[in-house]
Point group: C2
Chain length 434, copies 2
């Protein structure tokens, strides 16, 4: 078959916007990628990893332009650290690509299958989604991660990174495309969205029919904009207002460990805890120790009245919580805290305020664990472990393209299967419907 | 726990639009439904079926008002036939509800599970979506079907039927709500969207965060509007520009049977065939017979030049096809037809024009069947059977809420599992991340 990628001539195509043209090329590339066997895709991924290592200096030099521009613009060193690529970091990125090559290929997996009463064979098999658009901020390693995961799952990817990483992303995508093209596959499997204007993002969001799914990765305002304006189906990722609930019966040492790990092991990420709920029956025993431990970890507590009452007997810094605290994703060394009358009141608090990411219960009661996991409706409900485990790597998915906080298509950490759709294959011997 | 359904007081709630208020009540009802065991839900479904039979005359009388108004408005008798409810039809609807009660409950199914290397137990379990909005046209049986499927899968449903069936839908929903309430469950599990204005539909489409998914069922323009304007995630259903491709090597009798069944067994539905593609090597042998058979079935053929060349030797009515014919979903006794140079050209034609619903190949070649099923990316790819098998009932799903033609979340006939999401349950013994 003529590769669809070679078919772009004629006026309707020429008169399209650059973004639409790119999306058409992605769609054609996706059609070429879909039927590829795993070995072919893995070979390309290994070629990409090699190319990243061979061309490290080209990548680091481009990155230095971004870093210099950001520094000149007064960007904080914390953000610049996320942007910066060193030879060491490029090696890590290449190693991650090799890890993706080692993962099983989701495409072709038979999800359901049966022989119908009339003798027809029915199979539901995984197929690529087609064209995946990713809109993301800051870190240029996402460029390579996303491209590798999409390629492995047979999808073409349209990448729209932040303008502060434009030189880095351009260099990275050049290396990736050269490797893909060098392997005889369509380089358009991996494209940067052309143009740096907001208008080009808007065009991407309106490219329904050309782009099969958009995944925004970044801050709340980016995600809200994409959700509001996109006609392309969106997978919402991200915000995590996660709760740790300490039940009436709980191992206090375990509760302290889980609380501190959930809050303070890495406060800047979406699976860190933002609110502590404590059953009233255990508050006297637990709160003084918890407040001290939080203080030692450098965490400021935003407490309700009943938490404040315990603060005087502790060395902790406790400020009074307002309604806003219950819905805040601090991403910092802060935590909201409240005492609740019962497990059901904890569930009610979570229903009202949680973003539906991850909620943990610490309990020795089997009944309480069962009730909490049944009633709490979040991507992940944790019993006696840290909220920080909600993560594709931790779940054994090998890699993740994001954590979906919506209910449709994918929920929780998204691995390779979440980058696929399915189709039914119906096989008969001339069957017709009576 | 206090039922959330009882908690609606206070000014923020009072100042909401009626649609938002209804959606809030749906959300509260959904929280009550989610943890229900199967037996409770099945009991309610059986109570609903009984109530429909007991209160048949109330339903039929309300329906007669709709029928009279439609007839007065000059609606065609074919459409009125779809609208009309007889005691016999109400009995069929009640029987369908009993069939839904007999289906397995998808909620609680463990989709994936493993013990992680660190000893944490990970399970991914099916949970209800929450609040499902259905916007549909004409047939009032959809009101009951959709409500039954949503209830069985633990979802609250917000129904928006067509104004021509308003009296019927109001009566049906009254009967359903009475049965649900009578069983001690929140009647708000089943609601009609309040208001008959277009504005109320728009509010429903903007109720992101309250409504978890919208499923439009109806004509192309309804579906396009919902897709364009909704911020609530949408599952696109419906349009079927389905193809039958007769390969170079094919059993001619089987090809005729499949073609006629696909096109003419019930032309008004989305899984009927709209285009015939014939390999050039078999055109001389197949087309004259095919054209005669289509003519006998009362089908008008819209042929390309090569098909027209065969028309003279047949009794068929063949008109010249234009580009428009390739993308038309006739839903009538019409079919577009073309001769193609190769299987790959057939695939190319399908990629260009198909709506991605169902495509069939008739072939005796294993290699051709394999290539066609691998390259064609539609919800359903059929080998040696009629396109008419793409159907939840035929697939053994017991019932279907629609046929998704999008790639996200659900693709093809949607049964009960497609009305669910999942959540992860993580169980440890005090695990923290190092």
């Amino acid at each position: 078959m003529t590769s669809l990628s070679e078919n772009f001539t004629g006026s309707p195509y020429d008169s399209m916007s650059p973004v639409a043209q790119a999306a058409y090329r992605s769609q054609a590339a996706a059609a070429d990628l879909a039927p590829l066997p795993r070995a072919t895709k893995d070979d390309v991924l290994l070629a990409i990893a090699d190319a990243l290592e061979v061309r490290t200096s080209e990548i680091v030099e481009a990155n230095q332009l971004d870093v210099a521009a950001s520094r000149k613009a007064g960007t904080s060193e914390a953000v610049i650290d996320r942007l910066a690529l060193t030879p060491e970091r490029v090696r890590t990125i290449a190693a991650d690509v090799r890890d993706v090559a080692a993962l099983p290929d989701p495409v072709g997996e038979v999800v359901r299958g049966s022989t119908l009463p009339n003798g027809i064979d029915l199979r539901q098999v995984r197929v690529p989604l087609g064209v995946v658009g990713i809109i993301y901020e800051a870190r240029p390693n996402v460029t390579v991660d996303a491209a590798a995961l999409c390629l492995k799952s047979g999808n073409a990817v349209l990448l729209r990174g932040s303008s502060s990483a434009h030189q880095s992303n351009t260099a990275l995508v050049r290396v990736l495309r050269d490797a893909v093209g060098g392997a005889g596959l369509p380089a358009d499997a991996i494209q940067l969205v052309p143009g740096e204007s907001r208008e080009s993002v808007r065009e991407l969001m309106r490219a329904r029919g050309l782009v099969d799914v958009l995944i925004p990765r970044g801050g709340a305002s980016l995600i809200r904009t994409v959700v509001e304006e996109s006609t392309v189906p969106v997978i919402e990722t991200g915000t995590g207002n996660c709760h740790v609930y300490v039940d009436a019966q709980a191992d206090l040492d375990m509760a302290i460990d889980i609380l501190i790990n959930s809050k303070a092991q890495r406060p800047s990420v979406c699976n860190s805890a933002e609110t502590l709920l404590v059953h009233q029956d255990i508050a006297d025993a637990f709160l003084p120790r918890a407040l001290d431990a939080l203080a030692e970890a450098g965490v400021t507590v935003h407490g309700d009245r009943r938490v404040l009452a315990h603060a005087e007997r502790s060395k902790a810094e406790v400020v009074e919580a307002t309604a806003e605290d219950w819905e805040t994703e601090y991403l910092s060394y802060d935590i909201a805290a409240a005492v609740v009358d019962s497990l059901d009141k904890a569930v009610e608090h979570i229903r009202l305020w949680s973003s539906g990411h991850t909620e943990a219960i610490v309990t020795t009661s089997q009944q309480a664990a069962r009730r909490f996991t049944r009633l709490v409706d979040s991507t992940t409900v944790v019993v006696n472990a840290s909220t920080r485990f909600t993560d594709g790597g931790q779940f054994g998915f090998g890699a993740e393209i994001g954590i979906s906080t919506q209910k449709l298509h994918a929920r929780g950490p998204m691995g390779l299967p979440e980058l696929t759709s399915t189709k039914y294959i119906v096989t008969g011997d001339g069957h017709t419907r009576p």
